[in-house]
Subunit: 248 residues, 2 copies
Amino acid sequence: MDEAVLLTGAAGRVAEAILDSLADAYTWRLLDRDPPEREYAHEFVIADITDAEALRDAMAGIDTVIHLAGDPRSDASWDSVLVNNIDGTETVLDAATDAEVEKFVLASSNHAVSGYETDERVPTIYRSHDAYRLDGTELPRPGNFYGVSKAAGELLARYYHDVHGLSVACLRLGNLTEERPPADYERGQAMWLSYRDCAHLFDRCLRAEYDYEIVYGISDNDSKYYSIERARDVLGYDPQDNSAYFDR
Amino acid sequence: MDEAVLLTGAAGRVAEAILDSLADAYTWRLLDRDPPEREYAHEFVIADITDAEALRDAMAGIDTVIHLAGDPRSDASWDSVLVNNIDGTETVLDAATDAEVEKFVLASSNHAVSGYETDERVPTIYRSHDAYRLDGTELPRPGNFYGVSKAAGELLARYYHDVHGLSVACLRLGNLTEERPPADYERGQAMWLSYRDCAHLFDRCLRAEYDYEIVYGISDNDSKYYSIERARDVLGYDPQDNSAYFDR
């Protein structure tokens, strides 16, 4: 396929899951702040996402942006997420629309809504018999500054969609681990995202047509408290994994 | 009344509307970035809201914060609202919770949701016969960077409420003018907020009990497309004005 995709945050784990499956399916331009620690069979740009000029150059010829870069720590400081996640995302969106990129896939996070996990609801919502579901239409309720920054990214992307016509998919990703769900961690099992389901979800975001969407990115776990119906309906997401199939 | 209220952005128009009616009802500490251009019968602190140390001092003995400060221009640049509105609001929230302030009233804005005013809906939604209503449960949809920054302030306040127990009222203020609604401006008439209704709304925020609320701050205009039911129910807001009573 000739579609050209710029992937920011190329050294992170989400990028690893995507490239493990989709390396040959698209023409990739990888971007990360630091020089690569391994060999990539793709173009690699070393740039900080807060560098508007570098971003402008990186957008040349790009059809779709997958924006993963940012401080990934759930306990990141306000000062760090303000610069790296909020201002950084604005810089990438601005460069993308300037370059007339068509589609933007934003890595949002379960932490944008982790405030719903109140003392009254936990741990019940992490269990299979409980029917509580968040579906992406609820107001964000961040549990930490990282979550605030991810919800702010969703806001910025909404603005760029409305004003510039950019197609946007915001993916509130769960707990990504490679081979099996996290052990002894009910919350992580409820929001597990396998590597292959992760790659499949991003592949669907690259292929489907949409305006502006917020969906949850998790496997089809029995114990989920995030709905994946919107991802199924709009993106054609069809996850294969379920944390319930694994011994805990 | 002995309740001590810190009001940031004291030189602005919202502050003027509040102090016109409520100067004697509370013990005010006014704060603005620039020295006052007129005499105030209240304590006046000159400080920038991004100055954490100055904010810490300004919180001493304060029960409630009314946070109005920020770049008020709907066409403000991203760089300005990132610093003055987003980072500034975080600094004020952080200082308030450190000082164990109990209640926080945040001036949000109609621009946090102005993206709902699509070409298909405008100008119909600005007219009395139209039943379309936003009620504060919808996802933000900012029409400009100023609106992004106000919606980000709502997010930050949600976080501080959930984690620190701060009572928060976010007021999505309409079009505030002193004596009569704006002429020849349907949108402004639909979201008109008179000075006396504005002061009354803030007074209700100071007196009522609540956890975390997002309400619309407008007069009871026939042509409104924002619901004021939540403000009535939770805050006891009882507006007296209606833009329909004025010749246009």
